[in-house]
């Protein structure tokens, strides 16, 4: 399926604009279809979990958010790497566009996780490895967005942000490891994470649909934001031309 994506379409802004122009309506409708189906299925038709009851339904919004928060960062980091290696303008725009989306998903992951944690483990927040890592990831996103906003020269901002993204990716690995370590130091294994028993299809199918829906939403909004950036670039150039003329 990856092979179907014409990477040449993503190589330069012009091709990207025409490619996204054609794809976006489909992507939009697919997103809406998946999300509506997934939510309705999850809320109405999926059976309540025999252990966790109706609260398990929160999984349909929590798991996709958490998954997307990481996927968005992968896109951000990958684009930043491409930017540093090939100096692709479009790669910078992709990274810049992915960040606020990733931050939103991370925020949702944290909030829905808290709402799920209270009925499940009795507390809204637990300094467990995964929520803690997600909190740190949220800060990473905020810092990255702040860097883009604070540096006025967009070219410089792009370079700086790319460096930050790469350093952040290395750090994400280190943080994950150190937080796991820190957790084993402090948690006397009292918290028994309910190991999800093999999920019944009536549960993981709507979950998959929601996850796909979230992913399509991310990609759709990513493309729209990238188009916005391309237009901003053109506006800047046109303005400079008009001033010079």
């Amino acid at each position: 399926m990856i092979a179907m994506v014409p990477f040449s379409a993503l190589a330069n802004p012009h091709r990207f604009m025409s490619f996204s122009d054609r794809m976006l309506p489909w992507m939009g409708w697919l997103t809406a279809l998946l999300l509506v189906t997934g939510f309705i299925w999850g809320l109405f038709f999926a059976p309540p979990d025999y252990q966790m009851g109706e609260s398990a339904r929160i999984m349909f919004v929590h798991v996709p958010s958490a998954w997307l928060s990481m996927f968005a960062y992968a896109v951000l980091a990958g684009a930043s790497l491409m930017s540093l290696i090939w100096r692709h303008n479009l790669a910078d725009m992709a990274a810049k566009s992915a960040a606020p989306l990733g931050a939103a998903f991370t925020f949702l992951g944290l909030v829905t996780g808290a709402l799920w944690g209270q009925p499940m483990w009795g507390t809204f927040w637990e300094w467990d490895a995964r929520p803690t890592s997600m909190l740190v990831l949220f800060f990473i996103y905020l810092g990255y967005i702040a860097l883009w906003e604070t540096i006025e020269d967009q070219q410089k901002a792009a370079r700086a942000a790319a460096i930050l993204a790469i350093v952040g990716s290395i750090n994400a690995v280190i943080v994950k490891f150190s937080v796991d370590w820190w957790n084993t130091l402090h948690q006397p294994a009292s918290l028994s994470r309910l190991d999800a028993p093999a999920m019944h299809w009536s549960f993981w199918v709507p979950l998959l649909i929601c996850a796909l829906g979230y992913t399509m939403l991310f990609l759709t909004l990513l493309f729209v934001r990238m188009r916005t950036e391309v237009m901003r670039n053109r506006i800047r150039r046109l303005r400079m031309k008009q001033v010079g003329a």
Binding site: G53, S55, I58, W116, L217, R225, V230, M231, L238
Partner: protein, 58 residues
């Protein structure tokens, strides 16, 4: 119906979770589309002012 709304006693967790998710996702979508339309409008007006024979620059 009320049983559905009560979500087996977990209503105060399940509904806020879904509501916040829908709200944030909608919000991000709206903001994204709004800045898109804004830039689109600005670009259109700039291009009208610009020389019509100049090639479109990306």
């Amino acid at each position: 119906m009320s049983e559905f709304l009560a979500m087996g006693g977990y209503a105060q967790f399940v509904w806020p979770a879904f509501m916040i998710s829908i709200l944030v996702l909608l919000g991000v979508t709206v903001l994204t589309m709004r800045s898109y339309r804004r830039e689109q409008a600005m670009l259109a007006s700039l291009e009208k002012k610009n020389d019509a024979t100049a090639p479109a620059e990306y």
